[in-house]
């Protein structure tokens, strides 16, 4: 007996993504969080790197999606208490803590909080920097948008007096009699996504956290945030004055045995660069200083981001680990004692505000939860994975791990993990998919006729202060009310909040609106949300229009409020003009072929194939070589677990070979890809040059990467046998035993060869440090008397066990640090046996060093696989400027392409280790199988439409269409005296993305794009010119 429902514990971005994917894969989800809102840590962040998107702005739509999802039962302010049963059939007891507010009756209006006596306590969401009252909502966009009462503060609950909230609440939602309630749930699987804490107060006094003007990074996120305690103004806590000099301290407790955090927290280098950049954007007068040791910027475009912080924003980095921070009691400034490791001199640095990158540790309560669930913790108290290569599995079957509760990771990794967990749960509970799924209720659509008088509603968003500070919103609303056909116009703090969605529906109903406009942020993140809201009110979603007054007005005209407001007026007026002409559009249902194609048979491709196949879908695995396994074939021993690569590889290949649902094509290539999501026709040319036509539903790109060959760099030449790359060393270690080491006594490894450069390859390729350090250990084991030197710049050992691994390996080699100013110079001093002289500036000793070595191992970056341009063109997906595939969104859609139905994983996206590749592969499989599980999907209504009367069949549209959505069809036409073949353009609405290229190209004006037709655009232009 299996249960087709899943318990997700922790509703941060990991839990949210997992829950959403799980419902699409056919499972009911109970989403439990012990706090009153979902959103987790990501909701507390101001912006996210490297795009500097507003964190909550990209998260809120997902939170609202969770809230509206009929298959997610939201259990905020609940805690897991007991677990019984067995994998597939668990019984979980959950405690519902009393909110003292009825969550069904509460409308989140806030009247209660307004009247609640002004006895305040620090607000946890604002990291205790702001205050809240006894009855409160954690933050404005909280989901569910329901208030709760703090029983320790409330006068009614503590002393039996007051009760004013109950009097003012018109919804009669206050209920002082609520009691804790135990709830039993039957679930098939459990996902643990409990995230991290940042307990700065446990740090030793050296860091000065006890001083008022020393804040933790998470506190600083709140300070930066527009909805934070200081309204987005960078102020310091002691005197609420703007600090000029802000010091960011890295590794404030991480990588420190004394603080009990031996690992690297992994994300601090990047959020610090981001916080410094945002600080500079907030205030020109501020100067930002970063005290760092290594810069660990190993993710996609991360290193470049830290360079931008320095070059474009003037953030000054000191290479140092500070010794202590003390306060100047007069000024409350902080004095940081540090040694500049580049110059070797000691200084005292005076800062007005200090931001500590304090360690990120498993959230409090992890230990209790581990006990309840009977799963193990590791030595750092993170949840322990069952198997290094599948970090999503806990030590107990049926219980999965996702995100930071398993080890340090950033948001994209967490999101990939979450999708991966969903995919694995789907495979585990495959037999009971859709058992407990509710179909979404289709609200009957209001019948809107072209002849009906337009009745337009407009909602204008303040976006906290993001818009409201620069655009005069009340004036704007007043103006919009004067526009023709505008029946109702309102403004509010956050149009994306779920109470706003309720309001939109009310407005549509109460005012019989047949058009709706929201003027807020970008349609990229929010249009779907508002469209869905309209649909729920019965309004066809294409009768909705969105105006972006944040990016286009408040952001770009920050210094001119008047112009920003005028531009907002113009944009809304134009949108109203267009809105009058909108027509309801229809969406087609599309059947999905339940098969998947995986391009690339490396460890990523094989892992993805296995997951999809285990979910019962036919999977085709295409590999260009004559063998499976990709780069894994060239690897020797895997770290940090020290397992033989070939053992692991053979095991995986065996599984793939034995899976009935997987069909493998070796020595094969993709001939052609036609079609669209759910309906691809792919031709594969196999080793015998035979072509196979396959019907495919979804495609996963797992093309991997390859090692860069540093031709003519550092004496890497054909004639120099003892200058080799890391992968070449790997092969020697794998194949040649140890006799080749007989004449070699000294080995030098050089890291960052043509990586992290100003010119050439600018990125950090993530895996080279770890791999080099592994090989040092292996070499030492083969020949203990070897002398090994490692020339490095910063060591990227940020994964959970890596710091420990590196700590161990330091005994095996001498680590010498160099920097870009003085790249090592290598000269050949002896031909046979080969001997090389290395000379470089040792930044640790601040001196030039010179020595001889017998073998040089160059660690070069991983670069994209060959011929990706060709594949990208066939798939119609983009590559980034480094030649890796470009995902839909670096933060929240790391495994998707912008094009539906195509996904990516592993080194095709960015160089990464095997563990992360497998995690991404599972994630991509999870994402891809959502479509396969769904069986059919809806297409967009915004497509091109050809007017056959005006079409002259010239075929120009066909040639420009980037999506191959246009066919020219011929038909015979009979006239009185002649018959002729007529050519007409025909648009496949399933393929068409509505980009409009064809419409712009058509010489006869025969093509128009629905919702962007010429009449509508002309109306907008005329409306703009009208008031000039």
């Amino acid at each position: 007996m299996m249960e087709g429902s899943v318990l997700v514990i922790g509703a941060g971005i990991g839990g949210i993504q997992s829950a959403l994917d799980l419902t699409e894969l056919g499972f009911k989800v109970y989403l439990v969080d012990r706090t009153p809102s979902i959103g987790g840590r990501m909701a507390q962040l101001d912006k996210t790197f490297p795009t500097n998107d507003c964190s909550l702005c990209i998260l809120a739509p997902k939170m609202v999606e969770v809230f509206r999802n009929p298959n997610i039962e939201l259990m905020t302010y609940h805690e897991v208490q007991k677990l019984a049963g067995k994998p597939g059939d668990f019984t979980v007891t959950v405690l519902k803590k009393p909110r003292y507010v009825d969550e069904i009756k509460c409308k989140g209006c806030g009247d209660c909080a307004a009247k609640c006596p002004k006895i305040e306590v620090p607000n946890l969401f604002d990291m205790n920097l702001g205050k809240r009252k006894s009855v409160y909502i954690p933050f404005p966009q909280a989901v569910p948008p329901v208030y709760l009462i703090d029983p320790e503060l409330c006068l009614k609950l503590t002393k039996g007096v007051c009760g004013v909230c109950a009097k003012v609440c018109q919804a009669e939602a206050i209920d002082f009699d609520q009691k804790p309630q135990e709830i039993e749930l039957k679930v098939g699987a459990i996902v643990v996504a409990t995230g991290f804490d940042m307990p700065a107060k446990n740090l030793s006094s050296r860091w000065g956290y006890h001083y008022e003007n020393v804040v933790s990074a998470l506190e600083y996120e709140r300070i930066l945030c527009a909805s934070g305690p200081f309204g987005g103004h960078v102020l310091r806590p002691s005197d609420q004055k703007e600090p000029e000099k802000i010091a960011f301290i890295q590794c404030a407790g991480s990588r420190d045995l004394h603080e009990g955090v031996p690992y690297c927290s992994s994300v601090c280098c990047m959020y610090t660069a981001k916080e410094a950049i945002i600080t500079k954007e907030h205030s020109d007068n501020s100067q930002c200083f970063v005290f760092r040791h290594d810069i660990r910027a190993f993710g996609k475009n991360f290193y470049e981001f830290t360079q931008r912080a320095q070059k474009e924003y003037g953030v000054k980095y000191f290479q140092t680990k500070i010794s202590k921070i003390v306060e100047d009691p007069e000024t409350n400034d902080l004095i940081i004692h540090y040694e500049d490791l580049k110059t070797g001199t000691f200084h005292d640095f005076q800062a007005n505000l200090v931001v500590l990158a304090t360690p990120l540790v498993p959230s409090t309560g992890s230990k209790d939860l581990a006990k309840i669930l009977e799963i193990e913790l590791d030595e750092y108290h993170f949840f322990k994975e069952k198997d290094y290569f599948n970090k999503s599995k806990s030590t107990k079957d049926g219980i999965y791990l996702c995100g930071f509760c398993q080890g340090p990771m950033d948001i994209p990794e967490t999101v990939a993990d979450a999708s991966g967990v969903a995919g694995q749960v789907a495979a585990f509970l495959n037999s009971v998919k859709f058992d407990h799924i509710k179909e979404k209720l289709e609200v009957p659509e209001l019948d809107i006729k072209a002849t009906d008088e337009p009745r337009i509603g407009v909602l204008i968003c303040h976006c906290g202060i993001n818009i409201g500070k620069y655009v005069h919103v009340p004036l704007l609303a007043e103006y919009v009310r004067t526009l023709p056909n505008v029946v109702q116009c309102e403004d509010n703090l956050y149009s994306c909040s779920s109470d706003s969605q309720t309001r939109i529906k009310e407005l549509i109903k109460d005012h019989k609106l047949n058009r709706f406009i929201v003027a807020s942020c970008t349609p990229r993140t929010h249009e779907a949300l508002f469209q869905e809201t309209c649909q729920e009110a019965g309004l066809n979603k294409y009768l909705f229009e969105m105006v972006n007054i944040r990016d286009q007005c408040s952001c770009v005209h920050m210094d001119d409020a008047e112009a920003a407001t005028q531009k907002a007026k113009d944009l809304i007026r134009m949108s109203v003009a267009k809105s009058r002409l909108l027509k309801p559009l229809k969406e087609e249902l599309l059947k999905i072929t339940p098969t998947s194609l995986i391009i690339g048979g490396g460890i990523g491709g094989m892992s993805a194939a296995l997951n999809i196949a285990e979910q019962g879908f036919k999977t085709f695995l295409v590999e260009k070589e004559s063998f499976l396994g990709g780069n894994l074939n060239y690897l020797n021993v895997l770290y940090p677990i020290e397992e033989n690569a070939s053992d692991f590889l053979n095991e995986t290949i065996e599984k793939v070979n034995h899976n009935k649902n997987i069909q493998i094509f070796l020595n094969a290539k993709i001939g052609d890809i036609k079609g669209y999501v759910g309906n691809y026709i792919v031709s594969i040319v196999d080793s015998k040059n035979e072509t196979h036509e396959l019907s495919i539903g979804t495609i996963i790109v797992a093309t991997g990467g390859k090692e860069y060959k540093p031709k003519d760099m550092f004496q890497y030449k054909k004639e120099n046998k003892n200058v080799i790359t890391q992968l070449e060393l790997e092969q020697k270690l794998k194949e040649k035993g140890k006799s080749w080491l007989d004449d070699i006594n000294r080995i030098t490894t050089i890291l960052c060869v043509n990586a992290r450069q100003v010119e050439g390859i600018t990125y950090c390729s993530n895996i080279c440090c770890g791999n080099s350090i592994k090989n040092i250990g292996l070499l030492k084991k083969l020949k203990p008397e070897l002398e090994i030197a490692v020339l490095y710049r910063d060591l990227q050992m940020a994964k959970k066990k890596y710091e420990e691994y590196y700590r161990e390996r330091r005994k095996d080699a001498i680590f010498l640090r160099y920097d870009l100013d003085n790249i090592p110079i290598i000269s050949k001093v002896n031909k046979d046996p080969e001997k090389y002289n290395i000379k470089f500036y040792d930044t640790n000793l601040q001196d030039f060093i010179e020595f001889n070595t017998d073998l040089i191992v160059l660690s070069t970056p991983m670069i994209p696989a060959d011929n990706l341009e060709e594949l990208a063109k066939m798939l119609k997906v983009p590559l980034d400027r480094n030649g890796f595939f470009l995902e839909a969104h670096v933060k929240l859609r790391p495994l998707d392409f912008a094009t539906d139905g195509i996904f990516l994983c592993g080194c095709a996206q960015w160089p990464k280790n095997i563990q992360d590749t497998i995690s991404q592969a599972n994630g991509a499989a999870g994402r891809a199988s959502r479509f396969l599980s769904a069986k059919e999907i809806k297409t967009s209504g915004i497509v091109a439409e050809v007017d056959p009367v005006n079409c002259i069949g010239c075929g120009k549209c066909e040639s420009v269409c980037p999506y191959n959505a246009i066919d020219i069809l011929e038909s015979a036409k009979d006239y009185e005296e002649v018959s002729l073949i007529v050519r007409k353009s025909f648009v496949n609405s399933a393929l068409c993305k509505g980009c409009g290229t064809c419409a712009a190209t058509c010489p006869n004006g025969a093509i128009s794009i629905m919702q962007y037709d010429f009449d509508q655009i002309t109306a907008m232009i005329e409306s703009y010119l009208l008031e000039l």
Binding site: R206, L257, H258, K321, E339, K811, I814, L816
Partner: protein, 411 residues
């Protein structure tokens, strides 16, 4: 005998210093916190990097490791727990034996105290100490259960004033509490601390340790009480490195721990027969050997403060100095090495902190007391501070709880 010494040497000596340093990732924090670096250029991280990169010879030849205070501030703050003081200890052995360096010039008091230690280490020498200091009424014996290990105190008395009182106070306290006679050796040897840390004479240290071990076993003792921070650390941590079962055989207690336990066992209580109406502010100087030099789970620092808390009602007011516990400043000199103006600057800094914290500074290391008191002759502004050993401070404030009184209290 000689073979034993070499076997034991292996346990406390690492020929390749690099092996002890390899965890260093050059964060440089040690150089920032180094107490010596406040008065002279001194950068442990640079020394470590030189050794790591194979320039150990250069480091040893330069002789700069003779300067280290071995205060252990660097270890306390090192994120990788690198024990620099241990490196210094071993390096000093190497400097003496392989680089032919002799630090005699920088040993204070013309090296008399380390010479005495060295003489004691000879197997054929049996010291004959004066026991004149033993107060009347204190029953002592050469066999028994509890040993009071006196250390160098009586020797100091020839040069420094009034140090006997540390020994007399301690012995009085012990005799007051214990029913049986306390073991005090007439032929007591040096523990070897200064030889071990300061002189780089590791073999001499081993010889002393062996002699002590033999004597302890012969006397049949099971508990060692000492009032000296250095002896305590040496017995508690360094002897067990040589004799693995040392801690099993002997229960080593600093007098702070000893009193704390008796207090917690309800055998004694604190009182003040001469309580004044105005509270006397006092402070406590943590010796490095009782703070940064002890394992993490040893909480002498907390215990002594818990005791002082009791003194609030006894006419005293305990104040912390700015730097305290594991961050306490150094007394300026370690193992009689490097008494000079830089050391004076360090001591002066400490005394200024003490002055702003109280009228009395209690400490629990006779050497700290000597070094800090010595400075009072040079500088008038700090002369008024009374520096007392823990035993001296406590002697008049301890009262036995008699069993019948205990019974009454329970009622």
């Amino acid at each position: 005998m000689y073979n034993d010494t070499l076997d034991y040497l292996e346990k406390i000596y690492e020929p390749d210093l690099r092996n002890l340093l390899k965890r260093c990732y050059q964060c440089g924090r040690c150089s920032g916190v180094c107490q010596l670096s406040k008065v002279q250029k001194y950068a442990p991280s640079k020394i470590i990097e030189l050794i790591l990169e194979g320039f150990e010879d250069r480091v040893l030849e330069s002789g700069e490791l003779w300067d280290c205070l071995t205060c252990n501030q660097c270890l306390k703050d090192c994120p990788e727990d690198i024990n620099f003081a241990d490196i210094v200890r071993i390096a000093r052995y190497k400097m003496r034996h392989f680089a032919n360096q002799n630090p005699d010039e920088i040993v204070a008091h013309k090296g008399i105290y380390t010479t005495i230690s060295e003489i004691m280490s000879r197997p054929y020498i049996t010291p004959e100490r004066s026991l004149d200091w033993v107060p009347k009424g204190c029953k002592i014996s050469d066999k028994g259960n509890v040993l009071y290990y006196v250390g160098c105190l009586p020797f100091f008395n020839y040069e420094f004033e009034n140090l006997d009182s540390i020994a007399t106070s301690t012995l009085k306290i012990l005799c007051q509490i214990e029913k049986e006679p306390i073991v005090v050796f007439k032929e007591e040897n040096c523990c070897g601390h200064d030889i071990y840390w300061g002189q780089g004479k590791l073999k001499t240290f081993i010889k002393l340790a062996m002699k002590n071990m033999e004597m302890f076993e012969k006397a049949g003792i099971s508990k060692i009480v000492t009032a000296c921070a250095e002896c305590y650390r040496t017995f508690k941590v360094d002897y067990p490195n040589i004799f693995e079962d040392f801690n099993d055989k002997f229960d080593v207690k600093h007098v702070i721990e000893y009193i704390y336990e008796k207090w917690k066992e309800n055998l004694i209580q604190f009182h003040n027969p001469n309580k004044k109406s105005e509270k006397i502010p006092f402070t406590y100087h943590d010796p490095c050997r009782l703070s940064r030099f002890l394992p993490k789970d040893n909480n002498i620092m907390e215990k002594v403060r818990e005791i002082f808390k009791e003194f609030k009602d006894l006419g005293y007011d305990f104040n912390e100095m700015e730097h305290n516990q594991k961050n306490a400043l150094c007394c300026g000199v370690s193992s009689w090495m490097n008494c000079n103006e830089k050391s004076k600057a360090l001591r002066y800094k400490r005394m200024l902190e003490a002055k702003s914290a109280g009228d009395i500074m209690v400490t629990s290391c006779p050497k700290c007391r000597i070094h800090l008191s010595c400075l009072q002759d040079d500088f008038e502004d700090i002369a008024s501070i009374e520096i007392l050993d823990f035993s001296e401070f406590l002697i008049n404030h301890i009262k036995l709880i008699k069993p019948d009184i205990k019974g009454e209290e329970k009622k």
